[in-house]
């Protein structure tokens, strides 16, 4: 018999007063996969994550984590989760090493076990040389890695990461992605939220796109791109205004006019560019690129992801 998914949500709702943050979503996360919630700010990703973390009771619907009820069995479930929150809440009164040992004690690890684990994890996130130092002088990327180490201190079955790389520079992001990829290879189930398309494509086996508290699409990054976009996208910039988009009718499979550029969705980008030129149009710049989740999101919601 197949194992029950680690996370199952059916018609899950979260309301704050009159505001509905999560509006009836269905989700299931299987063991060992990396599952993503993709969407802009305010889409309901963090509220969903808090419910899965068992720190926010659902308003309605069904939610089961590790086969248990988060409201009744919160203590047991939280003992098997690792949570890496969006708001860095590392303890400034403690050293880097103590941040981990102290946290380990909340899960009931012995003093010796906590120390052993903290040492291992600082190696894993490449912060061993900062063990005795304070938290405050650490860079954003280092703090985020420490938060991930902290989330791993109880050897969790599911690691929940809320926007793990928001605000980090590219180098720090890549180091973090690489560490998360290592975790995945070790069989840890990852659940993460992001509003970065490239992050979702890099890390997620499967994801849902959220908008306004609802799920608007679900699948692997490849599937979503296949279903809601074309293999290639041509970005054209034109001088001045005018209805350029109208003249592009029939070039590629679909045309989206954005304020600053026009996107042409095509199976073959180069062929589309040739057709543009054949029609006597002369764009200022032409970029042919692979289709990304950004294009999927734009197609599904009519809006770009970046605020």
């Amino acid at each position: 018999m197949a194992e029950e998914p680690l996370v199952v949500a059916r018609g899950l709702v979260k309301r704050f007063g009159g505001f509905t943050a999560v509006d009836g979503i269905d989700v299931s996360v299987e063991r060992g996969e990396a599952f993503g919630f993709l969407g802009p700010n305010g889409a309901g990703k963090s509220s969903t994550m808090r419910m899965i973390s068992c720190v926010s009771p659902p308003t309605a619907g069904e939610l089961r984590i590790l086969g248990m009820d988060p409201v009744r069995d919160g203590v047991a479930i939280r003992g098997r989760l690792g949570v890496c929150p969006q708001l860095g809440n590392l303890d400034a009164d403690l050293s880097v090493f103590e941040n981990l040992t102290t946290y380990a004690r909340y899960f009931g690890l012995s003093r010796a076990e906590a120390r052993r684990r903290a040492g291992e994890l600082l190696e894993f996130v490449q912060l061993a040389d900062r063990a005795g130092g304070k938290v405050e002088p650490l860079s954003g990327g280092m703090k985020q890695r420490l938060l991930i180490a902290r989330a791993l201190v109880n050897d969790p079955e599911i690691v929940l990461l809320d926007e793990p790389t928001t605000g980090l520079d590219p180098q720090a992001r890549h180091l973090l992605w690489e560490r998360l990829y290592q975790l995945k290879r070790q069989g840890v189930t990852l659940v993460l939220t992001t509003h970065y398309m490239d992050e979702a494509e890099q890390l997620c086996d499967r994801l849902v796109v959220m908008d306004g508290g609802r799920i608007v699409a679900e699948g692997s990054p490849r599937e979503l791109i296949g279903r809601y976009s074309t293999p290639e996208v041509v970005e054209l910039r034109f001088a001045g205004g005018g209805d350029v988009a109208g003249k592009l009718d029939g070039v590629g499979e679909r045309v989206d006019a954005l304020p600053d550029r026009v996107l042409v969705y095509a199976r073959d980008g180069d062929a589309a560019v040739a057709e543009v030129h054949r029609r006597g149009l002369s764009p200022l710049s032409v970029l042919v690129r692979r289709s990304t989740l950004e294009d999927v999101f734009l197609h599904l919601t009519g809006r770009t992801l970046v605020d």
């Binding site: 704050f16 973390s53 720190v55 926010s56 009771p57 919160g74 203590v75 047991a76 939280r78 003992g79 989760l81 949570v83 929150p85 708001l87 809440n89 590392l90 303890d91 400034a92 009164d93 403690l94 050293s95 103590e98 040992t101 102290t102 946290y103 004690r105 909340y106 899960f107 009931g108 109880n154």
Partner: protein
Amino acid sequence: MMTAWVVTRRNLSARRVGAVLNRNVGALRSGPAYWLVLLSGFFEPLLYLLSIGVGVGALVGTVPVGGRPVDYAVFVAPAMLAVSAMSGALAETTFNVFFKFKYAKTYDAVLATPVRPVEIALGELTWALVRCLFYTVLFLVVMVVLGLTSAGGALAAFPATALVGLAFGAAGMAISTFLRGWQDFDLLTTGQFTLFLFSGTFSPVQDYPVAFEVIVTLTPLYHAVELVRGLAVGPLGWTLLVHAGYLVVMAVAGLWLASRRIGKLLLV
């Protein structure tokens, strides 16, 4: 409802409460800042004892305690002991808990683990008790050395100071969850200072106007002072149980409310 709450909390984990306590022990090692705060808190009631109890006391002479005249300093000292228990516990569960609750987001991190709100409250209260007892032990030593109580009186008063610390610590923690920002601490400080001045600390409550006396007998520091004074100086009597009962109810109610509020505000 509260009794039911006390009964159903049997699945508390001492280990998790200990882990909350352990965090504060770790913070203690982080530098001298906390130690300075700790020490300054001890000296305040001691300075009042010396300046008013001993200094002004020389002008006052004796006051009757349970029909027996005692030196004014003997009368004031147990009150300052109770105040020191109160301030020690309150400082921990107001300033420090409020900061961790509202700004450092310490408890948000803790609640993502198996630790529950009531275990946070108990851990913090235990830590407040440690600080309170650190003050009262030193204070009792000073009292015995100055001849303001007997060794037996000191031993009898010691557990009472723990109860005072628990009661004020728990109530303070509950209040912390209602504070909006640092500006509200002015109110808290004023309230605390009012209690400090008018709880039978510097003059017997029987000397107050009757209406005022009735109000004072409803407030917590009065019961703390009467309990500690009765045990340290005398007279012993059944009314001490009433004072102790008041403080027990205050401790349980404070703990209950603090746990509830932590859960209600952070687990949303």
